[in-house]
């Protein structure tokens, strides 16, 4: 199984159980609380001003996403991973509808 395959499987399983919104909301709240969102905003503004607004939005995204990933604090990332694993194991334990 490829790594991309894991993402799709998890996503499809969460969609079946209507848990995608809850998980994404949980992650968003944690990132806002730790100040990651504001840091990413400032970084985006700086990059857009330096490169004069970027002609394409894709260019901006290509530059911003790796920096945004790196900005996530390790403690917050660990906590989120732990919580996500618990959620996935609990979903697996739920009886499947036939």
């Amino acid at each position: 199984m490829s790594q991309k395959y894991y993402e799709d499987t998890v996503n499809s399983k969460l969609e079946n159980k209507h848990a995608v919104e809850r998980v994404s909301e949980l992650v968003r709240v944690r990132l806002v609380e730790c100040g990651w969102r504001d840091q990413v905003r400032l970084a985006c503004r700086k990059l857009s001003e330096e490169n004069d607004g970027f002609n394409n939005f894709d260019e901006l995204i290509a530059v911003v996403t790796p920096t945004a990933r790196a900005m996530v604090p390790d403690s917050v990332k660990r906590e989120l991973l732990h919580e996500l694993e618990l959620i996935l194991s609990n979903i697996d334990k739920l009886p499947s509808k036939k």
């Binding site: 993402e7 499987t9 998890v10 990413v40 905003r41 995204i61 990933r69 996500l84 996935l88 194991s89």
Partner: protein, 244 residues
């Protein structure tokens, strides 16, 4: 339905395999978390890109709120001590007027106000009197319209001069008598409102006083009775003639 069921069952099997293995579970969780972070980042970048394009970015640099002394009184509708001035330009006199007072200004400016209408009616009455007194009958008029106007005004002259002598008027002049009656009873005088106004103004200009008005009302009441009697008298001979 069978295809969907097969797909769902496959997904469940694979998911179970992932969760059962710790390493696979960790990798899957990590990749899924990165995917969520990327979607959030795209949302933030899109907002900034849009604001930059709309040139709103400069206003957002002030993140810290400024504390400039005591804040003005604020209501749910906004600061209620703040008076928003909406100014309008008057098309008639080209003045800038406040919106709250624009309607009364227009009323005065365009000549629709009460005082102006009273002044205008007084001027009309004064002008008509001046014309009558000065050179009204002496100037010969070539136009037929002027002659008609002259004849009409002559009748009015007779009214003004006769004043109290209206009781002795002929049956044709009943209409002329009506304005006096309308002071007390307004049933028959609806067609002569303009004439009534002029007469009133002239009467008041001669020397109005409450005593006079009371006496005049009393006299008019007496006149009414006399008029009603005279009307009956007038009607009776005709009826007698018809019978015969």
């Amino acid at each position: 339905m069978s295809r969907n069921q097969n797909v769902l069952s496959n997904i469940d099997r694979e998911f179970h395999d992932i969760v059962s293995s710790k390493e696979l579970l960790r990798q899957a969780a990590e990749r899924y978390l990165d995917k969520i972070i990327d979607t959030i980042t795209i949302g933030i970048a899109l907002g900034i890109h849009r604001s930059k394009k709309a040139k709103v970015l400069d206003s957002e640099k002030e993140v810290t709120p400024k504390e400039e002394g005591p804040r003005p009184c604020v209501d749910i509708f906004g600061p209620y001590n703040f008076k928003k001035k909406y100014e309008c330009l008057c098309c008639n006199c080209d003045r800038i007027v406040e919106a709250s007072g624009f309607a009364p200004h227009l009323e005065v400016c365009m000549g629709m106000g009460r005082s102006r209408s009273r002044n205008a009616s007084r001027r009309i009455a004064n002008n008509s009197r001046e014309r009558e007194n000065s050179t009204y009958g002496s100037i010969p008029s070539d136009d037929e319209d002027d002659m008609d106007w002259n004849s009409g005004d002559k009748r009015k002259r007779k009214k003004d001069r006769n004043g109290n002598k209206k009781l002795k008027s002929t049956p044709k002049k009943i209409n002329e008598v009506d304005p006096v009656e309308t002071i007390n009873i307004d049933v028959e005088g609806e067609a002569d409102d303009i004439l009534n106004l002029r007469d009133l103004l002239q009467d008041f200009s001669r020397g109005p006083s409450p005593a006079d008005s009371v006496s005049s009302s009393g006299s008019t009441k007496r006149r009414d009775k006399s008029k009603s009697k005279k009307r009956k008298d007038r009607s009776s001979p005709n009826s007698s003639l018809n019978l015969n």
